[in-house]
């Protein structure tokens, strides 16, 4: 226990003592050590897991109250048991040998294609992904009990794979006898084709239908593959009926996957659908800092801010840029100025700039969606069938680009800024009132951002 923790613990114990009986304190809390403290969490080491069970079940309210008194704000509480779990794994091996019916290969996370770095601990949580993270954690803690299936979707490099692998590893670590299967839908299709070719479909089915946890990444690739969809449909049903957990990920909502059968779409939407959105600036900064700590590199704050500011769309690219800057700094030893970084990341920054949306793209997309001519976007005509799509386009232009009201007005056939403002207000109002309009607009919005 280091100095800081000792002090905190003393403070906390003082607050805790009046909350519980003397006997309880002596019995349960005297052997507890505070081993880690941050602004959000406190980690306690307990001699063995009975302490954790008993404190969790009976003394949590007292502990929380004491924390509130001692530190002024609530913290998340974690327990670490000092009993080593290694003894357990030995006995498992022995029992596995004598096990008769089941496929008994001990599954290690690496053999499943799970990257050991992708755990819940290394996932940076922000407002853009907290639902997906919470749902994944709930699923990992109690598979098939809470959200089944769990459907995670979001753009490239936002953490879908990270979350799925974290679920897989968490389950493997906690419940060693659960059979976890993690693969991409592409691999699933390939294995299916292979099974048809070599005529061993039974083996193929057995492999997937006996899983306790099935994670399939990038499920959108199933679109258009009819036989694979059918096979997957049956696998899905078998697992679902057997109360086994299914986790799926995709780059778009199930209903938008092209050529996916309705019965599959409806099944995917059955459980919980969680969206991952691009991280906000604060989250991007947090990700950069965490990564930098993990890679043990030190960079000035301005550099972090520069990267977080300029690279918005994709976490993977953010990490790549960080890596590039860090290696440049350590190899050349030069001072990292704005220009140096700009030069270093020229291609990435250009790419970022290109993904920004133009008013023209918005007009084209909206016109296409409402089936009006592109020229109508700028024309003076204003029957309702044209005026509303035009207003939607103005609204989107206001939301998605940095253009001023005047610029938007100009792009829509020289209208003045009041017209644009009115359009935005009208659309917002109608979105609030009518579900179908909100859906339409968010659909166009997401298809533009892709």
């Amino acid at each position: 226990m280091d100095e800081k923790c000792t002090q905190l613990w003393q403070k906390l114990s003082a607050a805790l003592k009046p909350q519980v009986s003397a006997d309880t304190f002596k019995r349960w809390f005297s052997a507890v050590e505070l081993v880690g403290a941050t602004d959000k969490t406190l980690s306690f080491r307990v001699p063995n897991n009975i302490y954790q069970y008993w404190i969790e079940s009976n003394h949590m309210a007292a502990l929380q109250a004491a924390i509130l008194i001692a530190f002024g704000d609530p913290r998340e509480i974690k327990f670490i048991s000092s009993e080593s779990p290694i003894e357990v794994s030995e006995t498992i091996d022995v029992s596995r040998k004598s096990d008769s019916g089941r496929d008994t290969k001990p599954t290690s996370s690496s053999s499943l294609g799970l990257n050991p770095r992708n755990t819940f601990e290394s996932f940076v949580i922000g407002p853009n992904n907290e639902i997906a993270h919470a749902a994944s954690l709930a699923v990992a803690q109690a598979p098939a009990r809470t959200y089944n299936p769990l459907f995670i979707y979001g753009g490239v490099g936002l953490g879908k794979t990270h979350l799925m692998q974290a679920i897989g590893q968490y389950v493997l670590a906690k419940k060693k006898n659960m059979k976890v299967i993690y693969l991409s839908s592409e691999l699933f299709i390939n294995e299916f084709i292979d099974a048809i070719q070599h005529n061993n479909l039974v083996k193929f089915r057995k492999r997937y239908r006996q899983a306790d946890l099935l994670c399939i990444d990038d499920i959108q690739f199933l679109g258009g593959k009819e036989r694979s969809q059918e096979e997957f449909f049956h696998t899905f049903n078998t697992l679902f009926d057997g109360h086994k957990q299914i986790v799926l990920s995709s780059d778009r909502p199930a209903s938008e996957i092209a050529n996916l059968e309705h019965r599959l779409v409806s099944r995917f939407e059955w459980g919980l659908t969680a969206e991952l959105q691009p991280p906000a600036i604060e989250t991007r900064l947090a990700i950069l800092r965490k990564k930098a700590r993990g890679m043990q590199i030190k960079l000035p704050d301005e550099t972090f801010e520069f990267l977080a500011n300029r690279i918005r769309s994709n976490v993977r690219r953010l990490e790549g840029a960080l890596m590039r800057v860090a290696s440049f700094a350590s190899l050349s030893g030069k001072q990292l100025t704005g220009e140096v970084i700009e030069h270093l990341l020229k291609d990435i920054l250009q790419e970022e700039a290109r993904t920004s949306i133009t008013i023209e793209q918005i007009q084209r997309r909206v016109a296409e969606h409402f089936d009006v001519r592109l020229a109508d976007m700028t024309s003076k005509r204003r029957p309702a069938s044209i005026a509303f799509p035009r207003q939607v386009a103005m609204y989107l232009a206001r939301e998605l680009t940095k253009s001023s009201l005047n610029e938007i007005g100009d792009a829509f056939g020289g209208r003045d800024h009041g017209t644009v403002l009115h359009a935005c207000k009208t659309v917002k109002k109608r979105m609030k009132e009518q579900d179908n309009i909100r859906q339409t607009i968010s659909f166009i919005d997401s298809s533009l951002q892709r």
Partner: protein, 365 residues
């Protein structure tokens, strides 16, 4: 394979094994029962790969052999058959013809070879004890097993064979039940194992008042041999938490209570325990306990129980369900309730080695 038996015998045999039958659809063979006819009796086996049961019934065996048939379906048919004499004839393709009186059924089975064999117990540690002792022990502890799947080591009953006694322990983090059964256990046969809930439940159904049970523990497996029936189960992997930590020190107050009277009072008062807080209060005064419950906006209940009590006045609250569970499962007339203060756990005891620790609930004054 061909045999005939009375309806009662066949039904009894099926009842013993059919609860284990798997509800998992992944392996169809697991919803079947294995029938092996030989030498005046038919053996029945079912398994879900975690728990397996093997029983038998007397029959006139005309032709020896073995097959597997859908267990639930067979059970339902046999139960409904009108006449007491039943004849079963299985052909080479595992289709069984069942005749009884005017009824005829044909059900399709699966070959015997597909049925997973029950594990072998070689080099196992063996202990023999009276069935009645084990049954009473299970009854007194099994209700406290945790159903919280995230604490999987608690989803079973600890069997601790040590120091010439078998200690059974169950806990869910709020309460703990423990029983000691005296036994001669050689040093070499000592073991600490966790038996999953399903096996405990099945075992309770199979154990009777008479006869012995032979318990064999091998790595990861346990078998209970009840002479005519055999139950085999996988063990829960992991270490059971150090339960001794939970048992409180010396008690300050002890009251002796008539079990049934106490239980009935609790049951009545708990009708008005609110679902949200779900607690009832025991108010101790000289030679009297007031049991009270109240739910705001619903009402309240109070019952007085005369007892021998000379300690100080104080109140303690418990979850009524947790307090009634052991009272329901004990058979003794008298129980002892040991208390320290309103924030320390209460302990329920009887004359024989049994212990039930229950955490009090916070009293909001």
């Amino acid at each position: 394979m061909k045999f005939s038996a009375t309806k009662e015998k066949l039904l009894e045999g099926l009842q013993q094994v059919q609860n284990v039958v798997s509800t998992r659809t992944t392996l169809p063979i697991l919803s079947n029962v294995l029938l092996q006819a030989s030498d005046g009796e038919v053996h029945l086996t079912t398994t879900d790969l975690d728990v397996g049961v093997r029983g038998s019934f007397e029959a006139e065996v005309e032709k020896e052999g073995a097959t597997t048939l859908p267990a639930r379906r067979l059970f339902n048919i046999v139960r409904e058959l009108p006449s007491s004499e039943i004849q079963v004839d299985v052909d080479g393709k595992n289709a069984a013809s069942i005749r009884s009186g005017q009824s005829f059924f044909k059900i399709l089975g699966l070959p015997e070879e597909e049925f997973p064999p029950l594990p072998k117990f070689e080099g196992a540690k063996v202990v023999t004890m009276r069935q009645k002792d084990l049954r009473d022990g299970l009854r007194r502890t099994s209700y406290a097993i945790s159903t919280d799947e995230t604490r999987y080591v608690l989803n079973g009953l600890l069997f601790s064979f040590k120091e010439n006694k078998l200690t059974l322990v169950a806990t869910d983090g709020r309460r703990l039940a423990m029983v000691d059964i005296e036994l001669e256990i050689p040093r070499s046969q000592e073991a600490d194992i966790i038996v999953p809930t399903k096996a405990v439940t099945e075992l309770q159904r199979l154990l009777t008042d008479n006869g012995d049970v032979k318990v064999s523990v091998a790595s990861g497996q346990i078998a209970f041999d009840l002479n005519k029936t055999l139950l085999v189960s996988k063990l829960i992997e992991g270490n059971y938490p150090n339960y001794k930590q939970v048992i409180p020190g010396e008690a300050k107050e002890r009251v002796t209570l008539e079990r049934e009277t106490f239980l009935n009072s609790l049951r009545r008062v708990s009708l008005l325990a609110s679902e949200k807080s779900n607690s009832i209060k025991l108010n101790f005064a000289k030679n009297n306990i007031d049991i009270t419950a109240n739910t705001p906006e619903v009402g309240e209940a109070k019952e007085s129980l005369p007892v021998q009590y000379k300690g100080r006045d104080f109140s303690i609250a418990f979850n009524p369900e947790f307090l009634m569970a052991p009272l329901r499962n004990l058979t003794e007339d008298e129980v002892f309730l040991d208390l320290i203060d309103e924030m320390s756990p209460g302990v329920l005891k009887i004359q024989t080695p049994f212990l039930y620790v229950l955490m009090p609930m916070r009293i909001s004054s």
